[in-house]
């Protein structure tokens, strides 16, 4: 509870900073299962007030990962230490945490700062302290320093989180990533906005605003472009937009549906849905040449293509069995096989980056929730218990899923860990938030 209260206080703090966060996270489940960790506020070694609190970024990242819960800093045995040299292992013998992050920040020329941090293995330190005095470097897991500008504090905080997370879990951190999503505010003249923000909702930027619907944003593998559907010409069309240059390219504008784009792993083509020949079918379109290749051919609805990480197969939603279920098509042979059988409907699937599981929307007893299926054992687990869940998008390290849901009659974003233990909600300020898409590693 203490941690939660602290986290809430932190969220309030973040709200009051000029870069206002439209998406503030509320953790709804899974704090108790998280691993305790100690994060000390980084020691400011310059004149006047300290610049942004980098340790707060690290702490909130670790909380959001669902894997860690930082201890209350007020309860830590040492205060105001910034390097492993100041660390006294004996004082920490009763602290129930596996690791300690500490660091320093000092001025380093105009608008430049030198940030150093050390990651200490507390368990090892506690064990060795019992055997008598040892060199502090024995339990140092990592130690780095870098020069950053004032604008890079948050970014470098995420970088520290990535390192800490990977050292302690063996899994690459996904804190230096972004999300894109659609905000709909019907009280405004142009209600539909395509947004991009840091993975934690900070640094929200508008990429496109339109009086007509915007749908299905999805990232290119290099994290530089977004493909999406826009109805700006009163019909569905697929665009690719460069995030840096803002250049938009219309990729697909056939009669009928142009929808559900998904970049191929090499970034050169999109799997899309077209209904130009009658029913919605899966096609692959070359982004540069606009050449299309038809992949499916069935009188039922085929849509929502998503690539296997190896680029050799697609999964897609099809109604060919009577109800929406997920199928796989091998691109070289065109061979189609059904992947899901449990529940009334299964749709909107994607394969996790390790290729081992599939994340999708499952309908059981009329309820729509996010589910995961292990591709080797076929074991399916429903991950969420929120309402009208849709649009799941997996973090590039495969640990977390962001998805659209409904809370208090409004569309909001939520996150769930792929093991289903950690659950959080990202409430929006204005309007409805939907169609989240998690970027690749940036």
């Amino acid at each position: 509870m203490k941690i939660l209260a602290k986290w809430l206080a932190l969220a309030v703090l973040l709200c009051t900073t000029p870069a206002k966060a439209a998406l503030d996270i509320v953790i709804t489940e899974g704090v108790d299962a998280a691993r305790p960790i100690a994060v000390m506020p980084f020691v400011w070694q310059g004149p006047g007030a300290a610049p942004q609190a980098i340790a707060d970024v690290v702490m909130s990242d670790l909380v959001r990962s669902g894997t860690f819960k930082p201890l209350d800093e007020l309860g830590l045995p040492q205060r105001n230490i910034g390097t492993v040299a100041q660390f006294q292992a004996n004082s920490w013998s009763s602290v129930g945490a596996e690791a300690l992050v500490l660091g320093t920040v000092k001025p380093y020329g105009t608008d430049q700062y030198l940030v150093s941090f050390d990651l200490i293995d507390l368990v090892k330190a506690q064990n060795q302290a019992l055997k008598g005095p040892v060199s502090a470097t024995e339990f140092l897991m990592d130690s780095r320093q870098t020069v950053i500008s004032a604008a890079q504090f948050r970014q470098y905080g995420h970088r520290i989180s990535d390192i800490v997370y990977e050292k302690l879990t063996g899994i690459r951190g996904a804190f230096l990533t972004r999300i894109s999503y659609v905000v709909v505010n019907h009280t405004q003249k142009a209600p539909y906005q395509l947004m991009v923000a840091d993975y934690d909702g900070v640094n929200e930027q508008m990429l496109l605003r339109s009086p007509e619907p915007l749908m299905s944003p999805t990232w290119s593998p290099d994290g530089r472009r977004l493909a999406y559907v826009s109805f700006e010409n009163k019909k569905a069309e697929i665009f690719v937009q460069d995030l840096y240059t803002q250049v938009r390219t219309k990729v697909s504008s056939f009669p009928g549906i142009n929808g559900a784009p998904a970049f191929s792993p090499d970034g050169k083509s999109l799997a899309i849905t077209l209904s130009k020949d009658g029913q919605p079918e899966i096609y692959i379109i070359d982004i540069a040449t606009k050449a299309i290749k038809r992949i499916t051919n069935h009188y039922a609805i085929d849509t929502e293509p998503s690539w296997y990480p190896d680029g050799k197969s697609l999964i897609f939603t099809s109604e060919r069995g009577g109800r929406p279920q997920i199928y796989r098509v091998e691109l070289s042979s065109g061979k189609v096989s059904r992947e899901t059988f449990e529940g009334e409907w299964n749709l909107g699937g994607s394969i996790t980056p390790d290729g081992r599981s599939m994340i999708f929307v499952n309908r059981t007893n009329g309820k729509f929730n996010i589910a995961r299926m292990d591709l080797s054992t076929r074991f399916m687990q429903v991950l969420t218990s929120t309402r009208l869940d849709e649009s799941p998008s997996v973090a590039p390290n495969g640990t977390m899923v962001i998805y659209g849901t409904t809370y208090q009659g409004k569309q909001v974003l939520a996150a769930v860990s792929t093991d289903g233990r950690f659950k959080a909600r990202l409430p929006a300020g204005q309007g409805e938030v939907k169609s989240p898409s998690w970027s690749p590693f940036l």
């Binding site: 019907h186 619907p213 749908m215 299905s216 109805f231 009163k234 019909k235 569905a236 009928g256 549906i257 929808g259 559900a260 849905t273 209904s275 919605p280 609805i301 849509t303 929502e304 939603t317 929406p324 409907w345 749709l347 909107g348 929307v361 309908r363 729509f368 309402r387 009208l388 849709e390 649009s391 409904t406 009659g409 939907k434 169609s435």
Partner: protein, 178 residues
């Protein structure tokens, strides 16, 4: 327009007259009185009321009138995850079809919509199937395919934001836009 109003008034008035003729209890009479008083404008006008009768319409005129009324309804609703046109909406579509056949230069846009259940991408497909079901129905009546175009908005443009079963029902629709 006046004729139309009168016809509507008669449609409402006739069954009420028939009802009150059948029932002889004082309760229903007070109810009827209450509703008359409730309308208010007559009282403000110093108690003066006027009455009237509808013009005699030929069968053909009546039919035209009916079709015109029906054409004012331009939303066709669908069952969950279904895209078949329900018999309840046959009359509305007949009216639109007749009009479009008689006016081959008029074009109509058929919008397909879905409720918020399922995924947005699947709902786009479902919305298109609904709009196409309506187009096919009209084509069956002789409307030229060149007179009709179809667009699906899926769950992106709900009419009702309540996300209740009733709201979902209002959102599962095809809309005829002239």
């Amino acid at each position: 327009m006046d004729l139309n109003k009168l016809l509507k008034a008669m449609l409402v008035a006739l069954p009420i007259m028939a009802l009150s003729a059948c029932s002889s209890t004082s309760e229903s009479e007070t109810d009827a009185m209450g509703s008359t008083n409730g309308s208010g404008s007559e009282l403000n006008g110093g108690g003066i009321q006027t009455g009237g009768v509808g013009a005699m319409l030929s069968a053909e005129e009546q039919q035209r009138q009916q079709l015109e009324d029906l054409r004012k309804q331009h939303i066709i609703y669908f069952d969950f995850d279904r895209s078949e046109v329900q018999t309840d909406f046959a009359a509305i579509l007949e009216a639109h079809g007749t009009y479009l056949v008689e006016h081959p230069s008029v074009r109509v846009l058929i919008e397909g919509h879905a409720d918020e259940r399922g995924t947005p991408e699947y709902n786009i497909a479902l919305g298109e199937r609904r709009a196409k079901a309506v187009a096919k129905y009209l084509q069956g009546m002789g409307v030229q395919p060149s007179q009709m175009s179809v667009v699906s908005y899926g769950e992106e443009k709900p009419l009702d934001f309540s996300r209740t079963d009733e709201g979902f029902g209002k959102n599962r629709r095809a809309v005829l836009v002239y």
